[in-house]
Subunit: 127 residues, 3 copies
């Protein structure tokens, strides 16, 4: 009834799936900006790029894509990253219409090097 999509085997992650499918909805975990070796850049745009690429890969693995995003939550650790995030987001998650979204600046993500995580809910289209 629930399909679990595990995190990449080469990245050390806490006890979670990267995404779960129930019915026609896909719930995606807060995805950090790990590069392909599980490292986190000090650069915000670099972390954002890996977050967006990872989410697109998860959506594809689950049979959907960015156009079927329903709701996105962006978690930042620095208020100064809000404006750059919006510029990067408009490009990576476009074209319009965009999904519903909430953006928060929080005290910290699980690893202090993480500057951003994005979690989302997507619809899965019928074949």
């Amino acid at each position: 009834m629930i399909t679990h999509f595990p995190p990449p085997a080469n990245i050390k992650t806490p006890p979670l799936s990267y995404a779960t499918r129930v019915g026609d909805l896909l719930f995606v975990s807060g995805i950090p900006g790990f590069d392909d070796n599980g490292q986190l850049s000090d650069d915000f745009a670099t972390q954002f790029g890996f977050v967006a690429a990872t989410i697109k890969r998860i959506l594809k693995d689950a049979g959907t894509d960015i156009a079927h995003l329903v709701k996105v939550n962006v978690l930042l650790t620095r208020a100064a990253d809000v404006a750059p995030m919006n510029a990067l987001y408009a490009d990576a998650f476009g074209p319009p219409p965009y999904p519903a979204r909430t953006t928060c600046v929080i005290a910290q993500l699980p690893d202090p090097k993480m500057l951003i995580e994005i979690e989302c809910v997507a619809a899965i289209p019928s074949r």
Copy 2:
């Protein structure tokens, strides 16, 4: 498959929809307390009032209402606003039974003048 409800044309917003519908569920973005001219009062109760009014308008536009709220997340930037928020909320989102809810005090919302945002999920009743 997904219906997007755009933000008001006269308010400068980031790349998002105010809400999206998928199936019989409506996902509403974190809604700030903009007045009708897109301004933010310094007063918490005033911001709360505009948040509640905007959410009620979004729900109505999507064919549902406050009695069909399933889950609400309240994001505050000041711990001192928790008690006033609960009093305002009980009135604006009642009568009971209330939806499920989570309340967080976070470091900042996208605009430093924002004291509150509320995001929610609602059911859309069949015609």
Copy 3:
């Protein structure tokens, strides 16, 4: 159309349900670590234990269980609790595969004594 699951009668709670069911989905509020008398221990592991036990009881009351969790959000107020939380979580929410999950360290929960809340979405299996 929406089924509301109220909080325990002996615990003073804000205007919310502990969970709501719509269709085959259950949305669970951010659940704090109240003991059976509505008190909060100063100990993180103790609060975590009551959170997990309360969520399991809510799931059971709604006709589901931990294996049907779809998405979990863990809200902490101290970054130092991330590692202990993951250890406790792996045990309480296992065995694998685990649900999708996001973990945030925020400024404060509604009561300053709260060290953790967990909110979640579960699927409800057909009878």
